[in-house]
Symmetry: C2
């Protein structure tokens, strides 16, 4: 690692600021609705300056997605370094972290639909490399969890993987946050439960390493 000059550091800091702004807007409105003008305005620079750093709107969004994956990888590596519990507990920790990021308004929604962003990402080596790395790491925990029986062995591992990706960006998080009936922690705990225990609930399971007990608020408002 070469020591960066001061100018280089300033440049990198500015690019980071741009990507952070893009990331927030990506989470808030999605790729199509986000405009480059907004990003530039949020950073406080001219649009033309932004284009000196990123060649296109797609490249900018890709940088934001890569940044998210890097953060996820850092989380995963930290868990690998100091495991707390078994593999399924690690998976829950990762999903919990992503849910918290989404509640904080910093998780761009998945580009599942056929969009310009999706085609750009599928040909972006940096993005795909990281995505594959995340998939490998989680895949190891998933198959281990299936062997131990804590994860449904009758489900293909890829189905579990994709499901966890999707739950990380679950729109239900935002809906519940908007309803303002629950704390962020309650929301995360409830959705972690629906993800791993299902809507049926756990029932007859040995309460091993139970996650921090979900706070029951007594709220039972029927849907509004």
């Amino acid at each position: 690692m070469v020591r960066k000059s001061f100018k280089e550091q300033v440049l990198i800091a500015r690019e980071e600021a741009i990507v952070v702004a893009a990331n927030r807007l990506l989470a808030e409105k999605g790729f199509d609705a986000m405009t480059v003008d907004e990003v530039a305005a949020e950073v406080g620079i001219a649009k033309a300056s932004l284009y000196k750093h990123f060649s296109s709107k797609e490249a900018l969004a890709a940088a934001a997605m890569i940044r998210v994956l890097d953060h996820a990888l850092a989380q995963i590596e930290a868990l690998r370094a100091e495991p707390a519990g078994d593999e399924v507990d690690q998976l829950k920790s990762v999903v919990r972290w992503t849910m918290q990021v989404q509640l904080a308004g910093d998780m761009p929604s998945l580009p599942t639909q056929n969009s310009a962003l999706r085609t750009a990402l599928t040909s972006n080596r940096s993005y795909l490399d990281r995505l594959m790395l995340v998939s490998e790491r989680l895949g190891e925990w998933i198959t281990a969890g299936q062997r131990s029986g804590r994860l449904d062995p009758s489900l293909p591992a890829e189905v579990i993987l994709y499901t966890m990706f999707a739950r990380a960006c679950d729109p239900v998080l935002g809906v519940l946050k908007e309803s303002a009936n629950f704390s962020d922690e309650q929301i995360v705990d409830m959705l972690l439960s629906t993800c791993f225990d299902g809507l049926h609930g756990h029932r007859l399971r040995s309460p091993r390493a139970a996650p921090a007990a979900r706070v029951d608020t007594g709220l039972r408002r029927s849907h509004a």
Copy 2:
């Protein structure tokens, strides 16, 4: 109900064709990426003609969303007329139906993010009325399921409701369909399982009224 003249029937048929096209494109690319030109082209009429039927892109999309809710309500009413199983079985039937609609490419994605469509829908009486009706019907089944213990009683009913809405539009459906490793039926069965049984799997549960046994393909490809 007054008998419609021939001209009125033709008009209605044309509007239906427009809404069907809009619905498909809404499902395929989402509201922002869909253009009115595309819709008109798919129907085979001029854009100006389309605007004689719908005053704006938002109104067109709202009509499509309303149509989806009407279909869902028809499904629900049919199940109420001839119940097959208990309330949770009804709920599963509804979710199964919506998943099939999505796999067929006819389910617009939820307008959860702050979009122009969302603001239009939240002030559309027809849409909100139907949404509330669906929520009420499902809400009854949900609370009944919680009383019987087949649905997790520790979850607020609204969380279960929103979760079922979200699963109906689960992006995982599209991802798995693209992977081309499973039949539509397999995909629906697997995701119904992850929704109600969770990633942990069912384990110790009396196999009452088990859904059609999921076909196990033996596929265990690790994530690609």
